[in-house]
């Protein structure tokens, strides 16, 4: 050893051999490149749901929890002095309320919360409120968007309810066809815990014929819903999705009647919106209405009757600036009724519609669209009475829309739509039509994501969260 070290070449050779060995070790031990493991969010049942039916007076309120989750739970329906409780999943609770009833809170915990759905439907055959007017009971939130006719086109009432324990500070922003409306009375509304209020939008902004309305809270949360009574008919405006670069307005029924699209660009810049209709036999840009230009802060309407009337459809809007959109469905007949649908999310985790009926006069349609990829869904009916019929499997080819006429018990039923695993995104809506003297009654409700499941994101405790991560 010593001689080797003292020989200059011996030493060099030793070192080179050692280096080679180290290189070899490093080379052999080098792991193969591993694709970063994508932590998938985990589905978890929702544990508590609280929803508010904004104006149940004179309407039929339906609440249901599909049988999903195991374990116990309870739904509490705060019906004035006689609160009702339900603790059996799959059972429909339905009641027609006396007029003048305050907003009703439906609150569920445990297994009963997973998928709780509530809706109110009012039916009037005479008077100014003639028509079917239904709305999905709303979750209290900090931000809500509505698109539809403006106060100049009829009576628009904003129902606000604060069912939380903290006060809510509400601000309204109204966008009209001419741009954003600067209104004195739009902000500074304070709702104490438990307080509810109806705001006549005419007093906030009297002039818009069409409008987009943003209800937001500086602090606290509020349940907001808009009721529109126009000469064409009455209905509630469903909440639309937040401004986005891609909006899908689903649930356009295959019946006759006028269809009018509302598009608003609430941002700072003008939007050029590409409009496409997803129909039974494919997805098309509508002739001469391929694009619509929406000036910043304003609302534009587009008559789609010639393109989509008579065909079940979903409208897909794409734009480089975020937009919100809604659609008016006008029924047929001498005295018309209207219904509104609006931009809705895809129902990846399933959807529940609380209220549907199928009688001699009433038709309930389920319109399902798969604008991107082929989709497979299971449709289950939960009847109010009697045995549940077999679930229906529905396959929707890519870029197609399918309409299903729901045949269920006459007493009413709920509809559960569940996409199968591997299915493409599905958008949908439910439309109820009733043949009545003088003209058809109609109401619509875009499918919302069921409150059954939520995606629990992978979460890790990491002290480095104090630093902004390089993206």
């Amino acid at each position: 050893m010593r001689r080797l070290i003292e020989n200059r070449f011996g030493m060099l050779a030793l070192v080179l051999i050692a280096l080679g060995a180290v290189y070899g070790v490093a080379f052999v031990s080098r792991p193969a490149p591993v694709a970063p493991v994508k932590a998938e969010p985990v589905r978890a049942p929702i544990a508590a749901v609280s929803t508010v039916c904004p104006d149940p007076g004179g309407a039929t309120v339906t609440a249901v929890t599909p049988p999903n989750a195991e374990g116990g739970g309870q739904t509490l329906i705060e019906d004035g002095d006689e609160p009702a409780t339900v603790d059996e999943p799959g059972k429909l609770w339905q009641k027609t309320m006396a007029s003048g009833t305050d907003p009703m809170r439906v609150h569920a915990t445990g297994a009963m919360a997973a998928g709780l759905e509530a809706a109110q439907t009012r039916r009037a055959l005479t008077g100014a409120a003639r028509g079917l007017a239904g709305v999905r009971c709303v979750d209290p939130g900090a931000d809500a968007w509505f698109v539809g006719p403006g106060p100049a086109a009829g009576d628009l009432k904003l129902h606000l309810a604060n069912v939380e324990s903290a006060p809510a500070d509400v601000a309204l922003v109204v966008y009209s066809g001419e741009g954003q409306v600067i209104a004195d009375r739009a902000s500074g509304m304070l709702l104490k815990p438990g307080e509810h209020r109806v705001v006549d939008l005419k007093k906030v902004a009297p002039s818009p014929l069409v409008m987009a309305l943003n209800v937001s809270t500086g602090r606290g949360r509020v349940a907001a819903a808009v009721e529109a009574a126009t000469p064409e008919g009455v209905d509630w405006l469903p909440q639309t999705t937040q401004p986005a670069e891609r909006v899908v307005v689903p649930g356009v029924p295959g019946s006759a009647g006028r269809r009018e699209l509302y598009v608003a660009a609430p941002g700072e810049s003008d939007a050029v919106v590409h409009v496409k209709a997803v129909l039974k036999d494919g997805s098309y840009a509508l002739e001469n209405r391929e694009t619509v230009e929406v000036p910043a802060g304003s609302v534009v309407t587009l008559d789609l009757s010639t393109g989509v009337t008579g065909q079940p459809a979903a409208i897909v809007l794409t734009s480089e600036t975020p937009v919100v959109a809604g659609l008016k469905i006008v029924g047929t007949g001498g005295r018309t009724d209207v219904a509104f649908t609006a931009g809705a999310p895809s129902i990846d985790l399933g959807s529940v519609v609380a209220d549907a009926r199928s009688t001699k006069d009433v038709t309930s349609r389920l319109i399902l669209s798969a604008p991107d990829k082929a989709a497979d869904v299971t449709v289950t009916l939960l009847p109010r009475e009697g045995k549940a019929p077999e679930p229906i499997e529905v396959a929707i080819p890519a870029a197609r829309t399918k309409e299903i006429i729901l045949k269920g018990p006459a007493k009413g039923f709920s509809v559960v739509v569940t996409p199968k695993t591997g299915s493409g995104p599905v958008y949908g809506g439910r439309v109820m039509e009733e043949r009545a003297a003088g003209g058809q009654l109609v109401t619509a409700q875009p499918l919302a994501v069921a409150r059954t499941w939520t995606l629990v994101p992978p979460v890790a405790e990491e002290p480095s969260a104090v630093l902004s991560q390089p993206s």
């Binding site: 200059r8 324990s165 994101p457 979460v459």
Partner: protein, 933 residues
């Protein structure tokens, strides 16, 4: 008959020595014998002595020897001259006696036969009439008193008529004439006082023994006071002469006074020193203040040394009554204070507590004089020193590269928590709970930087390159003698990919280890390979304690260091242990001290061994796929590291150096360390840990073994011809590495996750409204954004200070609750969090809309603000504040214990009286080479 032996002690004094020797040889009463002692001069003093006394009459001493030691060495060898009264005449190399000086001295000796020590009147070397001293005495403060006014000219006013002698307590050792029997009786000058006050001590003992000490005013000598005026560098000690003088003054006083008087004097001097320290600080003379404190401290903290000295002086204390009347009168003390006040008022020179060595101190003349000196002027020495130049250059490079990191908001990113808070926050954190010990180190540093933690962290992290360069340059002093090689080595070390990577990714743990690593190498060399026979044990033992302490510091910052050092230490023990006794024990001290100092913290690491791989700061993983060639070129990968060819030059030179047969043993050790280091780096890297520390070790081994062969390059250059070209090429290749690294670093702008202007993670509202015990949950999208994962941490009412990130995790229940909250599933998640003290939830941008919806829909939470940059929600329900940690008595005791242990280790590691180091490289005896790796 008298027989006089002149002993001329020279140490880098050739400037004066020629005149001195001429004067000594030209005495009217010729000396009988002349002996020269050379204390390792480098300026040809030895030859001068040889010319004067003959080659055989010159004794060669090591450079670090003191004056007393040199004289002892001569006296020991000096044969007795039977029949005569033998005298020893001590001559400094900068002290030229008048031609008749010896004659007058001996005349006085004849006249007063009871005299044992005589000294001439000393005048200044340059200003020939300026009086320096006519015998000296001592004040009770230990101050050396000459009894003269400042700048007094000699007009015979102090000449004692008629006989020309004065009874004094002491005379200067410059020109001191000592009767040899008295020298032998008293044991001569105390070798423990290598430089100053040895004369005072000796004369005190002579006096106490009943001998007379006379200043002979007729005899004149001219003295340059080269050491005390810093006209030359002192090699016997590293300290400033002022501090040495003060320390030895106190020591002499304490050693010679009777016990009770000494105690009283000790108290008095301690108080006096503290007062003086304050005065110095007020007078903005911090250096003086430090010297003052260090001097009294060194006396107080070495009671054993004092005891030994006192034991040796038992006899002298008995004669205290003989000495007492010779002390300077107390009135003199008041005069000094008055002078000091005058000086301060007139903006004059600095206060002086040691007592001037002589009566004269001329600041102006001192400055002018310094420049005449060849290598010793302070300023010149500073800027002529390659080390300082290198430091300045590296600082410039660092500033150029880190130009974006120097100013602006908070520094943070990578592994570095945004630096917030001050020293008091760190102390509060460290004393409040079981915090990682590096917090204490940073707290100490922040205290030194006046409470500014950001400054301390910036110095350590951003100054990592120049600091490590400086430490590499200084620490290798003892084993690489060829200066250009040291410069190359330090520059290369400082600009290694590890260093630039450390800065770019904000790894303060690795930065500290990187700066300390050369010091470890130097201390470890002392522990293992110190071959000095006399003081071997003590120096090596101290080095072992020092190594232990610094190892504890480094381990606190990066625990992997300890593992690595332990492995190397074990290997070293196996190879050295059999050869040298005591090595094993010293190694045990060095490796045991960190265990002792970091005890409980290390225990927590043992329980969770993965943490060995973590370092101070935020956890930051590194790719386990580091290329083998990157490992071999000492490139740890990650942000801020140059391409792998940047260090190719280093590797080429290192391999080339193997062909030169020189220091083969150390070269083999160096390469051994390098290969073990790279191997360790491979292992560590494959475990997704950044291999900075082991690669720094590898680089150190490589650099040392290369630098040792570097002087051969100089030989090649001298050889000329082809060899000269070869030398040029080698230098070019060698310097290519640091130059390329610096250039790339500057071009890269030290870019990495580390940045300035990091936003505080805690929103101001949450900070203002959090009550004690309440926390803010910070949720952020996980790195890589699109995966949808979230990360969270909990902040407690303020931006977390460094080290808080290593608190115990909240656990999986809490994590589940956070996930539930983020999913918006409702239920009791928010209440669970509120039950753990969470009052706010903060989400910095970009805010995932789903997360925002989830938080908005949570009934027990209310939104406080939501902007483009961040959102903040508040719990509306009851928030149960987290219980403050119970007052942990065991923790408190441990803190006291740890503090005491640090002090003890510091004392054991503190350099004693003899810190001098031989600068020449120690050649390892050939016999040891058989234990080669």
């Amino acid at each position: 008959m008298h027989s006089v032996t002149a002993i001329v002690v020279a140490h880098d004094g050739s400037r004066w020595l020629r005149d001195t020797l001429r004067a000594v040889l030209a005495q009217t009463r010729p000396i009988d014998r002349g002996v020269g002692v050379d204390n390792g001069s480098r300026d040809g003093s030895r030859d001068l002595l040889g010319e004067a006394f003959g080659k055989h009459s010159v004794v060669q001493m090591p450079r670090s020897s003191g004056f007393a030691e040199a004289v002892h060495e001569v006296v020991r060898r000096l044969p007795k001259a039977p029949g005569d009264t033998e005298w020893i005449w001590l001559i400094h190399d900068d002290c030229a006696p008048d031609a008749r000086a010896l004659e007058f001295l001996l005349h006085a000796a004849d006249e007063y036969p009871e005299t044992a020590v005589l000294g001439p009147k000393l005048r200044d070397w340059l200003d020939r009439k300026l009086l320096l001293e006519v015998g000296v005495t001592v004040a009770r403060s230990g101050r050396r008193e000459t009894g003269l006014e400042a700048r007094e000219y000699d007009q015979g006013q102090h000449d004692a008529e008629p006989r020309g002698v004065r009874d004094v307590l002491a005379v200067s050792s410059a020109g001191m004439l000592i009767r040899r029997d008295v020298w032998d009786e008293l044991g001569g000058l105390d070798a423990k006082l290598p430089l100053f006050r040895d004369d005072l001590d000796f004369c005190w003992r002579a006096r106490a023994a009943g001998h007379r000490v006379l200043a002979v005013t007729a005899a004149v000598a001219w003295h340059a006071e080269a050491s005390s005026k810093r006209r030359r560098r002192i090699a016997a000690s590293d300290d400033h002469p002022r501090r040495l003088a003060r320390r030895y003054s106190l020591f002499v006083l304490m050693a010679n006074l009777p016990f009770w008087t000494m105690l009283w004097s000790l108290v008095r001097n301690t108080v006096g020193s503290l007062i003086r320290t304050v005065l110095f600080l007020v007078a903005k003379q911090p250096a003086h203040a430090v010297d003052e404190l260090a001097a009294i401290g060194s006396v107080l903290f070495h009671p054993l040394r004092l005891r030994r000295a006192r034991k040796a002086r038992k006899a002298s204390r008995a004669g205290y009554q003989l000495v007492k009347p010779m002390f300077s009168p107390p009135s003199l003390a008041f005069r000094r204070i008055w002078e000091m006040v005058q000086n301060q008022l007139s903006g004059g020179g600095p206060m002086d507590s040691a007592g001037r060595h002589h009566a004269v101190q001329q600041p102006g003349a001192e400055e002018g004089d310094e420049l005449l000196n060849d290598d010793d002027g302070f300023l010149r020495r500073t800027f002529a020193s390659p080390g300082v130049r290198l430091f300045v250059l590296l600082t410039a490079v660092a500033i150029a590269a880190e130009r974006d990191l120097l100013t602006g908001g908070m520094l943070g990113g990578g592994a570095l928590v945004p630096v917030a808070g001050g020293a008091s926050d760190l102390w509060a954190f460290y004393t409040g709970e079981w915090a990682p010990p590096y917090v204490a180190v940073l707290a100490v540093l922040s205290t030194v930087t006046l409470g500014k933690t950001w400054l301390a962290v910036s110095i350590l992290l951003l100054g990592c390159v120049p600091l490590s360069g400086l430490s590499a340059y200084l620490a290798t002093r003892s084993f690489v003698s060829y200066r250009p090689a040291r410069v190359w080595m330090a520059a290369t070390y400082a600009l290694l990919p590890v260093a630039t990577g450390v800065v770019a990714s904000g790894r303060i743990g690795s930065a500290v280890v990187f700066i300390l690593l050369p010091v470890y190498a130097s201390l470890a060399t002392k522990v293992l390979a110190d071959t000095r026979p006399v003081s071997f044990n003590r120096v090596a033992r101290r080095a072992a304690w020092g190594l232990g302490l610094l190892l504890a510091v480094g381990t606190a910052f990066a625990p992997i260091l300890y593992v690595f050092v332990a492995v190397l230490g074990l290997l070293a023990a196996l190879s050295f242990g059999g050869v040298k006794r005591g090595v094993g024990g010293n190694l045990l001290i060095a490796l045991g001290a960190p265990l002792l100092l970091l005890g409980p913290w290390l225990a927590t690491i043992v329980r969770d061994p993965v943490r060995i791989l973590r370092e101070a700061g935020l956890p930051m993983t590194s790719s386990p796929r580091l290329a083998p060639e990157a490992l071999l070129t000492l490139n740890p990968g990650g942000p801020g590291t140059p391409p792998i060819w940047a260090t190719a030059g280093l590797l080429a030179v290192a391999l080339g150096a193997l062909l030169l047969r020189r220091h083969q043993f150390i070269v083999a050790v160096g390469w051994g360390v390098a290969i073990v280091g790279v191997l360790a780096a491979t292992v560590v890297s494959r475990m997704s840990t950044w291999p900075g520390v082991p690669l720094a070790f590898a680089a150190t081994g490589l650099l040392v073994s290369t630098a040792l062969a570097a002087h051969r390059v100089a030989e090649f250059r001298k050889a000329g011809g082809l060899r000269k070209a070869g030398a040029f090429l080698i230098v070019l290749v060698a310097f290519a590495t640091p130059v390329a690294a610096a250039t790339l670093w500057i071009m890269d702008r030290a870019e990495g996750p580390l940045e300035r202007g990091v936003r505080s993670p805690l929103p101001a509202i949450a900070e203002a409204q959090s009550k004690p015990g309440q926390g803010t949950l910070l949720i952020r999208a996980a790195a890589g954004g699109s995966t949808g994962g979230l990360t969270y941490t909990v902040l407690h009412g303020r931006t977390p200070v460094i080290g808080e990130s290593e608190r115990a995790a909240y656990g999986s229940d809490f994590t589940d609750a956070v996930a539930g909250l983020a999913s918006g599933r409702g239920g009791t998640d928010a209440a669970k969090l509120a039950g753990r003290g969470i009052a706010f939830v903060s989400v910095p941008a970009p805010i995932d809309p789903a997360l925002r919806r989830a938080l908005d829909s949570e009934p027990t939470m209310a939104r406080v603000t939501l902007t483009d940059r961040a959102g903040l929600w508040r719990m509306t329900g009851t928030v149960t504040p987290e219980r403050p940690p119970a007052d942990d008595a065991w923790h408190r005791w441990w803190l006291y214990g740890q503090g005491a242990l640090v002090v003890i280790v510091l004392i054991l590691a503190a350099p004693g009286a003899r810190t001098a180091e031989a600068e020449a490289p120690e050649e390892i005896p050939a016999g040891r080479e058989r234990v080669a790796v």
